[in-house]
Amino acid sequence: MSRSRYVWAVGVVAAMALASGAHADDKVTVGFVTHAQGNPFIQQIVDGAQAAADDLGVTLQVAQKSGGDPEAQLRAVQNFASSGVAGVATSVPGESMAKGLNELVASGVPIVQYNLLATSVKAAYVGEKSVESGRILGKMIVAKMGGPAAKGTVIIGNCFPGFPVLENRAKGVEESLKAAPGLKVLGPFDVKVSAVENYNRWEQLYAANPDAAAMIGLCAPDVASLGKLNAANGDKFLAGGYDMTEENLAAIKGGHAYVTLGQSAFVQGYLPVALLVNAIKTKQPTPVGFFNSGTQIVTADSVDMGNGLPKITFDEAQKLAADPKATAAYYKVWTKTLAGDGLTANIKPIAAESE
C-alpha cells in the first residue's frame, strides 16, 4: 500500500471507529450545556443532572463550553436540537442567547435555564436568589467583623464582570456592607475564573492592600484562593465567598476562610432535567418562572444545606462534596418532594430571582 493510501485508510478507519463507538439507545435523550469546563462547581451541577437522568430513566448528554461564550453555547444548544434530543437545559451567560433560545422554544423544543439566566427567555429558570445570597454573605461578614461598628477595608472580587448573576451578588454584598459605615469597600475587581489567575489576582490585591480586613469573592475559585493567601500571610483577613467545592471546604476547615455559600449545585442540575422530562411527557413547554435552588450557608461551626435537608456536620458536608453517589443518596429526601405537583409547586415570577 502506498503511503498516501495508507494515510487515507487510517483516516477513514479512525472516523468509522468514532462513528461506531458512538452511544445510541432507545431512551429519551436530553441535552445539558454548561458555560465552563473542568470547574468543580459545574461538575457538581452535572452530577445532579446525571442523578436526575438516572432516576427518571432518560439519557443525559453533556456539552461543555469554556469561557462563558454565549455564542458558542447557543450553537451547542442548536446542535442538540438539530440532533433530535427531546429537550435542552443550558446556563445562559449572555442576553445574546435569548433570541435563539426563544426561537427554539417557539419551535417546540423544551428549554430550561439554570445557574445563569437571561430574563427575556421564555422558559423556566433554576438558580439561586442572587441579590439575596449576596446580602446574606455581606451580613455574615459584617457580623463577624463586629456589626455596625465594624471598621476596615473590604475587597470584593468578581471572576466574570458582566455576568448578571454575579453583578447581582455584588449588589447584595455591597448593600449589606453599608450597614457598617466604617467599612471602606474596594471593588469589585476582576479576579478571573481560572484557579491560577484567580490566586494571582487576589495576591496582587492583598499586596496592594495589606491592611485589608476582609476579602469577598463571588465565584467558585475564590474561597480556595483566599484560603491559600490567608494561610501564607498568617490568617490576617476574613475570607468569604461562594460554592461548596472540596477546595473551598478545605480552606474553611483549615481556618483560613470563614464562610462559603452554596447555591445547591445538585438542585441546579437535578431540577432542570426533571422539568425537561415533565415537559416532554406533557408535551408542553417548560413553565416560564423562577425555581429557587436555595442557599446553603457553611462555616466551620455550622452547615445549613437548605431545601429542608437533614442536618449534617462539616465533615459530612466535605464527604458529600467529593462523592456524587453519596450526594444523590442524601438528596433523596428532597427529590421525593418533586413527585406529583411538587415539581412546579414553588414556581415564582422570574423577577423574584433578583429581589
Binding site: S4, G11, L18, Q37, S96, A98, K99
Partner: protein, 330 residues
C-alpha cells in the same frame, strides 16, 4: 507535446482540494452514522454557525499572507458591536449604526496598523496590547453588562434575521458574498498581489516599489472593518451583545485559517480554505453532539479530528506534489 496539457490539467485542481476532501469525509462519516446530520436544514444551520467567526477568518487570511497575526480581532468584533448597539440605544437609526460600526472597526484596525507601522513592531506584539485595551474600553462603555437595543422593530433587525428563500440566514449569505469578494481581491486585484508580494519577500517587494508599511496598514484596517461588519451584523442577528462575547474568537479564527491551508510563512493565502476550515471546526463541534460524545472527551476528540483533517490535507498535497514531480521528469 503530450506532457504540457497534462501538467495544465493538474494545475487546475484547486489548492483547497485536501481540506475539501477532509470536509466531505467528515460529513460522510457523520452522515452515515447519523443520517439526521445531513438534513439540509441542519447543514444550513451549521453554515449559519460559521458566519461571525468565518468573516474574521476571511480577514485573517490577508494578515497571515503578510506574515502577521492580529490577536485583537475578538475584541474589535466585541467593541464594534457594543459601539453599534449603544448608538442604537441612543436612538440613531439602526442602518446608520451598522455602517458606523463597520467604520469603528476600521478605526480600531487603523490604531493597530498605525502602532505597528510607527513603532515598527510585528502586529502580534501590538495587538497583544490592544487586545486588552479594546476589551477594557468595551467594558468601560458597556458597564460590564449586555447592551440590548430596545426597539428591534426596525428594518435592520428584520433584514438581518430573515432567511433567504426561507432557509439561508442572511448573515450566512453575506458571509459567502464577502468570501467570494475577498477571494477575488486576494487573487485578482492589485492590493491582493501586493499583499502576497510583501508576505512572500518583503525586501524584494520594497525594491519593487511596494510600500510594506502601506500594505500592513491597509491590511490591518481591512481586518478591523471586517470585524466591525461581523459585530454590527451580530447585533442585528442576536439582538444584543454581551460583555464577554468575542473573548475566545482569536484561536478559533487562526485555527480555521491554518486548517484551510494558509501557511504561517506568508506569501500566499486561501480565502476558500479559510471558509472550509471554519466549516470543519463547526462540523466537529456539531458531530460531537450528534455522536453523543461525552463532554470530558470532546476536547480531545476535537483536537484529534483537527489533526486528522490536516493529515488528509497533507496527504492530498503530498500526492499532488509527487505526481507533479513525476510528470516533470517525463
Amino acid at each position: 507535446m503530450t506532457a504540457l496539457p497534462e501538467r495544465r490539467r493538474t494545475r487546475r485542481l484547486p489548492e483547497e482540494l485536501g481540506v475539501i476532501v477532509a470536509l466531505l469525509v467528515m460529513m460522510t462519516v457523520i452522515g452515515v452514522a447519523r443520517p439526521r446530520f445531513l438534513n439540509p436544514l441542519n447543514l444550513l444551520t451549521i453554515l449559519g454557525h460559521t458566519t461571525f467567526l468565518g468573516m474574521l477568518a476571511v480577514g485573517m487570511v490577508f494578515l497571515l499572507a503578510i506574515r502577521e497575526i492580529d490577536l485583537s480581532v475578538g475584541w474589535i468584533f466585541n467593541f464594534s458591536a457594543v459601539f453599534t448597539a449603544l448608538l442604537m440605544v441612543a436612538g440613531v437609526p439602526p442602518w446608520v449604526c451598522a455602517v458606523a460600526g463597520v467604520g469603528f472597526g476600521a478605526l480600531l484596525g487603523l490604531v493597530n496598523g498605525a502602532l505597528a507601522v510607527v513603532l515598527r513592531l510585528p502586529a502580534i506584539i501590538v495587538t497583544l496590547g490592544t487586545f486588552s485595551m479594546f476589551q477594557g474600553l468595551s467594558l468601560v462603555v458597556n458597564n460590564g453588562r449586555a447592551v440590548v437595543p430596545a426597539d428591534q422593530g426596525s428594518s435592520f433587525f428584520t433584514a438581518i434575521s430573515a432567511k433567504l428563500f426561507g432557509v439561508l440566514p442572511v448573515p450566512a449569505a453575506v458571509f459567502l458574498v464577502l468570501a467570494v469578494v475577498m477571494h477575488l481581491v486576494l487573487h485578482r486585484s492589485r492590493f491582493g498581489y501586493r499583499v502576497q508580494a510583501v508576505g512572500s519577500n518583503p525586501e524584494a517587494a520594497e525594491l519593487a516599489g511596494i510600500s510594506n508599511a502601506a500594505v500592513r496598514l491597509q491590511t490591518l484596517v481591512l481586518m478591523g472593518a471586517i470585524c466591525g461588519l461581523s459585530g454590527a451584523m451580530y447585533v442585528g442577528f442576536r439582538g444584543a451583545i454581551d460583555p464577554n462575547e468575542g473573548s475566545d474568537f482569536v484561536l478559533v479564527v487562526v485555527a480555521a485559517v491554518i486548517i484551510g491551508g494558509t501557511p504561517l510563512s506568508g506569501g500566499s493565502g486561501t480565502v476558500i480554505g479559510a471558509v472550509i476550515g471554519t466549516l470543519i471546526i463547526q462540523i466537529i463541534s456539531s458531530g460531537l453532539i450528534f455522536f453523543g460524545i461525552d463532554a470530558t472527551w470532546s476536547t480531545f476528540v476535537t483536537g484529534a479530528v483537527i489533526v486528522l483533517a490536516v493529515s488528509l490535507d497533507q496527504a492530498v498535497k503530498y500526492q499532488r506534489a509527487r505526481r507533479a514531480r513525476r510528470q516533470a521528469k517525463h
